[in-house]
Symmetry: C2
DNA sequence: AATAAATATATTATATGCAATAGATCTATT
DNA sequence: AATAGATCTATTGCATATAATATATTTATT
């Protein structure tokens, strides 16, 4: 009977049953973003197949998604490479990121209620703690979680979808260029964004989103100026 | 030697050698957007395989891209369906479309020069003629060409990339809901956008982009009000 | 006749095999 | 020794076979 419209455009949630291709995507995306697979690293479908334990097909499908996301480059019949982190490119991408993230933040603020406050504070706390201890893994994990929450809260799956590759790129670039001292300010910006959203003030949320992107921009510009 | 950075994030140009998967994507995308495969139509990988003349693998890869674009829905082990045109969803997507398209229009305006004027006028003319004669095929073709030109001119491949699914969705919805009388105004909006971009006036270009999206919005709202 | 179980069918998900090709290595020729 | 050609190797692109599963159909039972 084909059922009525379930609003999901695409990806299954965190705990749902996932295809091997989906698992492969998440695994490889994570390795790329966390710089575990560093920029420029050469990959082959076979390597990754064995690494994640699935056949070539799901890995190949994952790699195509990563290619669309701009995280890897495919050289036909030559191999695959993790994309370089080009700071000028990232700055260009950040313009798009800012525009869409503002929209998401504003929409989320308009829809947020008291119910979200607890979760938001929990996230802000987790991120602040991770930052204080220098726990990069935890920081990134919380960052991803916050992005998921805002996307969900915004009620705009199209914005969320557009954001996916931009977030991946921004996150990776930030991780690549960041210094130890950037952790705490970033956590602070996230906390302010969450607070603005929960307060229901759309304009404040937009400003907070802009401020967050500005921080990333500055981190990258500073790194460039050090070259 | 792996060559230096070629700025392409992804898709090959119009005339370059294309993989079967790329060809399949373009063919099926076109059929979906032009409503040749109508909303709700049931598909199978095998059907499409035979229809486009390739094996299942490239068709499957194309379908996955279309899935990410939101043009088809995949029901695991049940089949595939062309997405319905949900006007409320489209209106949500148009908010994102507007935000990104404004950015693209502004960037294109800042980078446009005298060289582009001829092409722009040619495009505007082609679209106006198609509209006058009621040549939907030609209209859509020109519309796509204009989008490609603006994306190229903007110098922001990330915005262009984000726009792809939004343009497909907006185009399809517009084709679905439009009436004969919408053709000419749409062509007019496109012409104004092109003119604003070529004039180098970023603010005017943004306004023109907004006006174009507003026209789509109105077309859809009107259709909804007729239901 | 109605219902439940069993079976068949349709379809995607995954694995694997083969083809095409880019690049590296080896060989022969001068 | 240097170079051109040939051959080998690695790698993705594509096709196809198999597995898993959802749905439809049939059959048996009451």
């Amino acid at each position: 009977m084909m059922s009525s419209i379930s609003s999901d455009t695409c990806s299954p949630g965190a705990d749902e049953a996932r295809s091997l291709a989906e698992q492969a995507y998440r695994a490889i995306e994570d390795m790329v973003v966390r710089l575990d697979l560093p920029p420029g690293a050469r990959l082959t479908e076979n390597d990754l197949s064995q690494r994640v334990g699935f056949g070539r097909t799901p890995v190949r499908e994952a790699l195509q998604r990563l290619h669309y996301d701009g995280l890897v480059r495919v050289f036909p019949r030559k191999g695959i490479a993790v994309s370089e982190v080009n700071p000028l490119d990232v700055l260009v991408a950040l313009d798009v990121y800012a525009a869409v993230e503002r929209l998401v933040a504003a929409a989320a603020a308009r829809r947020a209620g008291r119910a979200e406050e607890a979760l938001a504070e929990q996230m802000a706390g987790a991120m602040a703690r991770a930052a204080a201890v220098g726990d990069i893994g935890g920081f990134v994990e919380t960052d991803k979680a916050i992005d998921r929450i805002l996307a969900e809260l915004s009620g705009n799956p199209y914005a969320a979808r557009a954001l996916v590759p931009l977030q991946a790129m921004a996150r990776r670039a930030w991780l690549f260029f960041r210094r130890e001292s950037d952790l705490a300010p970033a956590a602070e910006r996230h906390a302010e964004l969450l607070k603005a959203v929960c307060s229901g003030d759309a304009e404040a949320a937009e400003a907070a989103a802009e401020s967050l992107v500005a921080h990333v921009r500055e981190t990258i510009k500073e790194a460039v100026s050090r070259l």
